[in-house]
């Protein structure tokens, strides 16, 4: 077999711009290089601004994870002030954030990921006709149903946050709107309708049945709803043998509440659970078009190399935890939180099927969480406390976006922002190589992917890349 190199991109049906260069040898990917070709410089713009402006500007990094960015910014400001938000405010923020994450997972499954199964290249497979009916881009019946269901559940964010995307209501002290009893009733009924959609369309069974699965085999053997169709396709195409991960996961823990985070924080290294020490994070710049040394985000700088010198090949920095790559996302969250089926599924490390299945599990679990949270709202309680920001200080805001661990690090001097660094989930997952030459998680996952002769946009590569649900606008900001 000949050797060749292939440039795959621009990738569509991912959020933002992405280009991947593949070195192919003997019909397989030998090396992959992920390039994030869009840079806007948010970290530079933040300098000199009022710290509170982070709440408005950073969410605009991304139109689909805006509440994640807003939550992280608000957590960073809150940590600088040393004050937690009002408990009910944290609850309302969790509801908004949970809805956004749920919507992102649904969009990924229906609009971005499964559309590839409707490709003509799969014609003749026993499931192809059904995949075409359900998942054809922009036209499939599942696509339409998803878009409509999403619009409905986002009413909850509308009610609590005024508008979505780019909600302004989340503040360091809580949220700006105290929901009324009427809002609560309305959210309850919206969630009930969404449950009907999930049970009727996605899972084909009660949500608790799916969320309560304990073994990987039960999950991958699920036959009902669109989840079942995916499992059937995954089995037929061998998606479990594609896109292997390192088996190292990171989660900052999702939905902080006074009593802890609803999905636990932690690290996972092939069966061993650990605690997150953010002091061990470094952003390596050796292969990014950025000038400077590898630093911790509190000391980090964003200084684009306008000459775009080799060996750099991406605007993305390369974050490492204790010098190693980690994968982050829904599967990581579920594994670290201890969901038995997720742990079973990821026993040999992540793969394409496990990542998508992890997301499906999380959809079910998040719906259940949301229902509990809405019923726990006490509309007469305070929803925001007065948080006075110090004139100087630093803060760290850690949250979980749909795509994984998101951190904001802020430094304030004389009442103005003196440093602002953001490490987004896809910055972890789609990082370029580091100084040691170690490829980032998606680059490593692509190695070994089969590429047929003459294939210009290899299907395996499409599946692997999209299984991470990359959000490229967050990656480089």
């Amino acid at each position: 077999m000949t050797e060749r190199s292939l440039l795959v991109g621009p990738f569509n049906r991912v959020e933002g711009d992405l280009e991947i260069r593949l070195e192919i040898k003997d019909g397989r990917v030998a090396q992959a290089y992920a390039n994030s070709p869009m840079f806007r410089g948010f970290e530079i713009m933040m300098l000199g601004k009022s710290p509170m402006d982070a709440l408005t500007i950073t969410p605009r990094i991304c139109g689909i994870c805006s509440i994640s960015q807003s939550s992280a910014a608000s957590a960073a400001l809150g940590s600088m002030a040393g004050l937690p938000p009002a408990p009910q405010g944290a609850l309302a923020a969790a509801i908004m954030h949970g809805v956004e994450n749920l919507c992102d997972h649904l969009t990924h499954f229906n609009l971005f990921f499964c559309a590839d199964f409707a490709r003509a290249a799969y014609a003749g497979r026993p499931w192809h006709d059904r995949a075409v009916t359900r998942f054809t881009a922009m036209e499939g019946s599942a696509v339409r149903a998803c878009v409509e269901a999403r619009a409905q559940i986002l009413h909850i964010v509308g009610l609590l946050g005024g508008k979505w995307p780019h909600t302004l209501a989340i503040q360091p002290g809580g949220v700006t709107r105290a929901p009324t009893p009427r809002d609560r009733i309305r959210m309850t009924s919206t969630l009930a309708a969404f449950r009907r959609y999930l049970e009727g369309t996605l899972f084909g069974a009660p949500i608790e049945d799916f969320a309560g699965l304990t073994r990987a085999a039960d999950l991958t053997g699920w036959t009902l709803g669109d989840a079942g169709l995916f499992m059937e396709i995954a089995e037929d195409l061998g998606l479990a043998d594609m896109g292997h991960g390192s088996g190292r996961f990171l989660s900052f823990g999702a939905y902080p509440q006074p009593e802890g985070r609803a999905f636990a924080a932690g690290t996972w290294d092939n069966g061993t659970l650990g605690t997150v020490d953010t002091a061990e994070i470094r952003e390596d710049l050796s292969h990014a078009w950025m000038l400077g040394e590898a630093r911790h985000p509190t000391e980090g700088r964003t200084d684009p190399d306008e000459d775009m010198q080799a060996p750099a090949y991406s605007w993305c920095k390369a974050p490492r935890l204790a010098g190693r790559t980690v994968e982050t996302g829904a599967l990581a969250r579920q594994v670290i939180d201890g969901h038995p089926a997720a742990r079973d599924l990821a026993a040999g490390g992540a793969n394409v099927r496990a990542r998508v299945a992890g997301r499906l599990l999380e959809i079910a679990r998040t719906q259940i969480l949301l229902e509990g949270w809405v019923s726990a709202l006490q509309t007469d309680a305070p929803f925001i406390t007065d948080v006075a920001l110090p004139d100087a200080g630093s803060g760290e805001g850690l949250v979980e976006a749909a795509r994984g661990a998101l951190g904001h690090w802020i430094k304030v001097e004389k009442g103005r922002i003196a440093g602002y660094q953001i490490v987004a989930p896809t910055t972890w997952n789609f990082s370029p190589r580091d100084a040691a030459g170690t490829p980032g998680p998606v680059e490593a996952a692509l190695e070994g992917a089969p590429v047929g002769p003459g294939e210009e946009t290899p299907l395996s590569v499409q599946h692997i890349v999209r299984s991470f649900d990359p959000c490229m606008v967050c990656t480089v900001h």
Binding site: D17, M52, G162, W164, T176, A178, D386
Partner: protein, 366 residues
């Protein structure tokens, strides 16, 4: 040129019934502030006119405009608009990938030369020869110019394409530049907001597809029907402003009572948009209703006006009854978009559209 089907053909193909179609025409007429007499006109146009192809491209942006767009209020409206414009090329939603996607882009331009609408989400960064946003191996600014050359008209979606938005915030590291400063020889309609309201987006595009021309624009090139009035003028908290009742801090007694947010930095008094009438997420709410002031995201330069919580201080210079055009004439530094100035749609029309568009249907159905 290839034969193009009509809008109605496309809708029929999507399985949309005649009844739903007529309902959509009625909704569109009301959303656009047009009377019932326009319903048959819209229907007739859709049945007889070839559908207008749309190419949708993304520059420096966050995709919030697309997100807003696919969530338009009436499910049918969204379906119809999506099928009407078919988004012949949209790199976020389309099926094709990589080279196939680029080929589709070329093919659409070739096939509909001079006839398509170019919808731009985001803007081109011009620093370093445009290297901060590369699409298909080329700077986005080249792709934009290329696609614009044979377009009939251009829609600048959102604050990014219209004005630059946050990525143009000082020091504007990438020199993010609004579309009209790069493309100067085409009619451009600006639909600002971060993002624009979904119904405003579908309303604008439906108008252009139906009547084959741009809607009336204000001085800044925004459709007057949606940007003709200040948020302040139609704000449900306005009586509290007039009565001098203000929120002084988050969640104080005034906040619980829904007092005016002016002292919390609300930019409603200087912002022209339809938020307080059309509202967001299918008419559910808007930022002021969530207890947070407006940040003025449909106004040029909203990102660099001091902090978002600073009080508006230049309020007294104009009265409530003024519209964006009159203010624009008075205020220094407002640059016209080079597009003919028309009278703004009257308050009556906006109020009418609100009354017809605000059923609480979403409430009970949910």
């Amino acid at each position: 040129m290839a034969e193009i089907e009509t809008f109605y053909d496309v809708m029929r193909r999507q399985g949309i019934t005649r009844r739903s179609f007529m309902k959509y025409c009625a909704l569109t007429a009301s959303a656009l502030g047009l009377g019932p007499a326009f319903v048959p006109k819209i229907a007739n146009a859709m049945e007889t006119k070839p559908r207008t192809p749309v190419i949708w491209v993304h520059g420096l942006e966050c995709t919030c405009c697309s997100e807003s767009f696919i969530r338009s209020a009436h499910p049918l409206a969204k379906d119809v608009v999506l099928s009407m414009i078919s988004l012949d090329y949209d790199d976020t939603l389309m099926a094709a990938a990589g080279h196939a996607a680029e080929a589709a882009f070329e093919e659409t331009i070739e096939k509909y030369r001079g006839n398509y609408i170019l919808a731009v989400e985001g803007n081109p960064p011009l620093n370093e020869d445009g290297m901060f946003c590369i699409s298909g191996g080329k700077p986005f600014v080249e792709k934009l110019k290329y696609a614009a050359k044979d377009a009939k008209a251009i829609i600048s979606w959102g604050a990014c394409a219209s004005y630059g938005c946050v990525q143009a915030a000082k020091p504007n590291p990438t020199q993010a530049t609004p579309v009209h400063k790069v493309i100067t020889d085409k009619p451009i309609i600006k639909v600002p907001g971060c993002p624009p309201i979904a119904e405003v987006m579908t309303g604008v595009i439906t108008y252009m597809l139906t009547f084959d021309r741009l809607p009336e624009l204000d001085r800044q090139g925004r459709p007057a029907m949606f940007y003709g009035q200040r948020i302040h003028d139609k704000c449900y908290r306005r009586p509290h402003f007039d009565a001098g009742q203000f929120v002084e801090e988050w969640d104080d007694d005034g906040a619980r009572k829904g007092y005016c947010l002016y002292k919390m930095g609300c930019k409603g008094p200087t912002t022209y948009n339809a938020c307080s009438t059309v509202r967001w997420n299918e008419g559910v709410s808007f930022p002021i209703q969530s207890g947070h002031g407006c940040i003025g995201c449909s106004e040029d330069g909203f990102w660099d006006q001091g902090t978002f919580y600073d009080r508006v201080t230049d309020l007294t210079q104009f009265g409530v009854e003024k519209n964006a055009d009159q203010i624009g004439l008075a205020a220094a530094g407002v640059v016209g978009g080079g597009i003919a100035l028309h009278a703004a749609v009257s308050a009556l029309k906006s109020a009418q559209s609100k009354a017809q568009k605000s059923p609480s249907k979403t409430n009970e159905e949910a």
